[in-house]
Symmetry: C2
Subunit: 163 residues, 2 copies
């Protein structure tokens, strides 16, 4: 899980990818966000080897995205939970699901998962909104700009943007 | 770039991760969404080896997320562009950037990139909204439900969800 090339890169995107590790890490976060907690359940859900699951759980714990908690002694058993930081990733999972559903990537039957507002029961989705007013903004009107943390590489990339 | 374990899995999230390939694939899509087009620019931006960049570009092309276009002959030179399908990934990139900015993962200087509405010039963000009314919904009120394309594994995962 070495993050070669990512250190020092002023990129929030790369930083989050690094914390997650790889797609197995992302699928484990998906499962924990759905309420799975136990090692055996994660194994069943992802169908990965013990070596892969263990190493990804360790990486996610080191990244501060999940915590391991003992729920039984003799024999010792542990469960895994999203930390507050880990729960932030749900935004990324929703974006991934929304794109996959749009592509009908799982077939013509429709989305495997729906996300609903527990109060209204109605479907929700991610949308681009004005940060202050919360009004909807069309995706095609969104432009990237250098932020306060931009380094030379970020500023150089932005010179390539043709609006 | 083998997608072991992903085929047949009724999961839009896994499907999109598979199409992107890995985090290098995601960073290439980031660069193309920022307007970078040329192989050498992608090399400079990502600082990966030729072998890595070539294989990821090929994978993204096979996934239908990018297209290669010749812009010069003698010598032949090609540029890379997001397809319409590839532009859908911008939602995922925005989610990743938003989470990384929240974590201040690149340091205390602030976000490297800002996303603004080109009409108002104001910052935008991703938010959960009601699919029909576009009204904001609080993240903590969002619940997953089985959709029409759910298979047994998806339904089993959802039995673990404690609301």
């Amino acid at each position: 899980m070495k993050s070669k090339g990512f250190e020092g890169m002023a990129c929030s995107i790369a930083g989050v990818l690094d914390a997650v590790g790889d797609r197995w890490g992302m699928l484990i976060l998906r499962d924990l966000s759905l309420g799975l907690k136990r090692y055996d359940d994660l194994r069943r859900s992802t169908d990965v080897t013990h070596a892969t699951l263990s190493s990804r759980l360790k990486h996610l714990e080191q990244s501060g995205l999940i915590e391991r908690r003992q729920y039984q002694t003799r024999p010792d058993r542990f469960e895994y939970l999203l930390t507050r930081k880990g729960r932030d990733i749900i935004l990324v999972l929703q974006a991934l699901a929304q794109v996959g559903d749009k592509w009908a990537i799982t077939g013509d039957a429709g989305p495997p998962l729906r996300f609903v507002d527990r109060n209204s029961g109605r479907s929700v989705k991610l949308a681009v909104v004005d940060e202050k007013s919360s009004e909807r903004v069309r995706s095609r009107d969104v432009r990237p700009q250098a932020g306060p943390g931009a380094d030379d590489l970020v500023r150089w990339r932005l010179t390539k943007f043709d609006a």
